[in-house]
């Protein structure tokens, strides 16, 4: 084998190894985006999901002593009960959008390991410049790269 062929072969081995890493990474850490309706239709216990919806009013319960946070995420039709250990994150409230990451427990609830609260559609500015400007304000808010907070 001449020198050039050796280099190409070496490069291919490295690229194959990297390709395998990517493949392994994807299969180990895929998180499926679902709505409450999609999750209720076909829940798979133990699979990683990212569930997005609105925190259903009247369902948010926070027990400081045990750090138990429970609420239901809804998409208007279906609703999924969610449990999380830890204080509610910033920007998290009833009637607002939230995305949770975790797994389906198999016992009828979603076990969230990460809550991402979003600035909600329901947002109202206290000094709202004008009614027509409201949607625009929202847009600008979304333009900010960091309009979510994380809690683990």
């Amino acid at each position: 084998m001449n020198r050039k062929a050796k280099f190409i072969a070496g490069g291919l081995v490295i690229i194959a190894a990297l390709g395998y890493l990517v493949y392994a990474g994807v299969s180990q850490s895929s998180v499926y985006f679902v709505t409450p309706g999609e999750l209720q239709a076909a829940p798979v216990a133990g699979k990683a999901y990212r569930l997005g919806g609105m925190v259903q009013p009247g369902t948010l319960k926070w027990q400081p002593k045990s750090l138990d946070l429970t609420f239901a995420l809804s998409d208007g039709q279906a609703s999924v009960p969610v449990r999380h250990k830890g204080a509610p994150p910033d920007l998290f409230a009833e009637g607002r959008g939230a995305v949770v990451e975790g797994t389906w427990s198999g016992d009828g609830y979603f076990k969230a390991s990460l809550i991402m609260a979003k600035h909600s559609e329901e947002y109202k500015a206290p000094h709202e410049p004008s009614q027509s400007g409201y949607k625009e304000l929202l847009k600008t808010l979304r333009g900010d790269s960091r309009d979510e907070t994380r809690t683990r």
Partner: protein, 648 residues
């Protein structure tokens, strides 16, 4: 009046940029100096008008001119003075002004610096840079006009996003954008090189320092962004593989590859095609990053839309790539390598591997970031890969890069002899192995951490060895140790500046490994007078206090921290209540340390002040990231010093 003036200034800037770009190109092509001269005036005009836009906007912020929608959205009467200035880049439209202004500034410097020195490159460089400036001015005019009027004029504004009221937000975007726009200079020179057919090393040696400057600011921007995330967002981390972070990280990776691969071209006349491809990729990624974060396509998984700005950036990106690669294809015959690889054990191949891994890292980050789009397009399922993917894939790549960081600078060019290898690497390898063994005996069980720390010691060993030998050689010619050290740093500033940057990266690597492996946290709700314990610290809750700040209300907790030896400090994590937000925002408090930070987040509290939910984190070695950043700054400063200082 400000909206009208501002709009007029951006339109005037746009017209001048378009004219200047065309005039420079035509002037260069037809050899008419008058035309070229007029394009220089156009470049100055662009800078003046963009500066005008910026000053007008700052003035509007300082005078609370809420007839400008951008001002009304990003400030209110309670916003503190400094944040009223930095609110300029608090959201999309203003950031575009800042970006365009920096680009115009770089263009002006290029005009001043190269009009006489590089008469052949310079007109085309000017044409490319003004063309890019024209695009940003177009964005300022059509899809994201910063001076949009708000009518009727509201009595007060909405206020800056509270998360942006932080010192990190003053410097982070500035550093990041100086980095992003900085890569325009080498890109423009590369394009000019293709156009005039001088595809040798000239564009590389002219832009070497520009590339380092851009790279340095990008690095600084990333680190300050990490610091902001760490001390503002309250999750105790500094990097989340968020698409926004990835967008800035990708050009950093390809830019780093470029900084290394140009050395191979200078020395061995190889990789000409590759270097041009790398600068195109780096510049393209700065545009792609803006597209990614501003178009909302990634957020689209949960329905964010941003109007037409995404389409503008995508179209521009397509234009840039098409143009650049067409030029490349046209000049392909002039980009043949003159040297070739002699051996796998050579500096060339170490650098080649370095490039392969850096580009692979950029590719995997790219792949992971756009994965939700890919999976939706291909399989119809929305799937994302999160931090575990990026960590799994990138940790081996970065460990390999650490290893190469030790090998590359010392291994011989062309073909390393057994003697060269023994002489340069025996001691550092031994040091690395011994260090890993000692850490293992001290109880470090994590194999990746051991490997990382062993590699860091190995690389440090190679740097110390090389520096020591070079200093000793200088001493033989009569210098004292101090003079020898300074002489090396100042006169061989390119090599040793690079080494200092490497040391900074090593310190950052230790910080990343240590913080990922050893940080611990707990969360608990405690009554007044009760304590939480974590890692030898006792955190006692002493009470709550409410206060009224200039633009928000605040509930502050008092927590007394002690360790075995008695009281240590008092920390005040708080919750801030901004009128423009419906829910409070946590303000963390921390005690930074060399080996560990104590970090408190107030989660929730009883309305009567009787109890509080507190998250306590002991974050290990996070400070090393910031210290590494300082070392990196020093190294980059050395590397930027002019080459001319080198003695004959």
């Amino acid at each position: 009046m400000i909206p009208e003036f501002g709009y007029a200034a951006s339109v005037a800037g746009l017209l001048l940029a378009v004219y200047g770009s065309a005039a420079a190109a035509v002037g260069a092509h037809t050899g008419r100096p008058k035309l070229l001269e007029s394009s220089e005036w156009a470049a100055t005009g662009v800078w003046v008008f963009v500066t005008g836009c910026m000053l007008l906007m700052v003035y509007a912020f300082l005078t609370f001119d809420f007839s400008v929608r951008y001002v009304a959205v990003n400030t209110n009467r309670g916003t503190p003075f400094y944040y009223r200035i930095t609110a300029l880049w608090g959201a999309l439209e203003g950031s575009i002004i800042l970006w365009t202004w920096m680009l115009a500034l770089y263009t002006l410097i290029v005009v001043r610096k190269y009009r006489r020195r590089q008469p052949e490159f310079y007109p085309w460089v000017l044409a490319v840079m003004l063309g890019i400036a024209a695009f940003f001015l177009l964005v300022m005019t059509i899809p994201a006009p910063p001076f949009e009027r708000l009518s009727p004029v509201p009595p007060d504004g909405r206020g800056l996003n509270p998360l942006l009221e932080d010192s990190g937000m003053i410097t982070h975007p500035v550093a990041l954008y100086l980095g992003f726009t900085g890569f325009t200079v080498p890109f423009a020179f590369a394009m000019a090189a293709l156009i005039i057919g001088r595809t040798g090393d000239e564009w590389i040696s002219i832009t070497r320092r520009w590339t380092i400057i851009a790279w340095y600011f990008l690095s600084l921007g990333l680190l300050i962004g990490g610091w902001w995330s760490y001390h503002v967002l309250g999750w105790g981390g500094y990097w989340a593989w968020d698409p926004v972070e990835n967008a800035a990280f990708m050009p950093w990776l390809t830019g780093t590859a470029l900084l290394h691969s140009v050395m191979i071209q200078e020395r061995r006349r190889m990789l000409k095609l590759w270097n041009i491809t790398l600068i195109i990729a780096t510049f393209g990624l700065t545009i792609f990053g803006t597209f990614l974060t501003r178009s909302g396509i990634i957020g689209s998984v949960h329905a964010f839309t941003q109007g037409s700005i995404g389409q503008f950036f995508l179209a521009f990106l397509a234009l840039v790539l098409l143009g650049a690669f067409s030029l490349l294809a046209w000049r392909l015959d002039r980009l043949k390598a003159q040297g070739e690889l002699d051996s796998i054990l050579s500096r060339e191949s170490a650098f080649l591997l370095n490039n392969l891994f850096l580009v692979a890292a950029a590719f995997t980050v790219f792949f992971g970031t756009i994965f939700p789009l890919l999976s939706e397009a291909v399989r119809g399922v929305k799937v994302s890969v999160g931090a575990p993917f990026f960590n799994l894939v990138n940790i081996p790549i970065f460990l390999a890069l650490l290893f190469l960081m030790g090998v590359g600078p010392l291994i011989a060019w062309r073909r390393a002899s057994a003697d060269n290898l023994r002489r340069n690497f025996l001691k550092p390898v031994a040091a690395g192995v011994v260090a890993a063994a000692v850490l293992r005996l001290l109880g470090v069980g994590n194999a990746l951490v051991l490997l990382c720390m062993g590699l860091v010691v190995f690389v440090t060993g190679t740097i110390v060895l090389d520096f020591f030998r070079a200093a000793r050689a200088r001493r033989r010619s009569g210098d004292g140790w101090r003079a020898a050290t300074m002489g090396l740093l100042l006169h061989q500033n390119r090599r040793y500046g690079g080494f200092v940057v490497h040391l900074g990266i090593l310190v950052v690597a230790l910080g990343v490994a240590g913080s990922q492996a050893w940080s611990v946290q707990t969360e608990a709700t405690i009554d007044k007078g009760q304590s939480v314990e974590l890692a030898g610290y006792t955190v006692r809750f002493d009470g709550l206090e409410a206060s009224e700040e200039s633009n928000h209300g605040k509930v502050t907790g008092t927590f007394t921290v002690s360790n075995g030896g008695g009281p240590l400090t008092v920390l005040y994590p708080a919750k801030k209540f901004y009128p423009q937000e419906q829910t409070p925002i946590a303000a963390v408090d921390y005690r930074l340390g060399f080996l560990q930070d104590l970090y408190l987040v107030l989660g929730d509290f009883g309305q009567d002040g009787s109890h509080a939910t507190i998250k306590v984190q002991v974050n290990r070695m996070v400070s090393w990231l910031w210290i590494g950043g300082l070392i990196l700054t020093l190294g980059a400063a050395l590397a930027i010093l002019p080459d001319e200082k080198r003695p004959a």
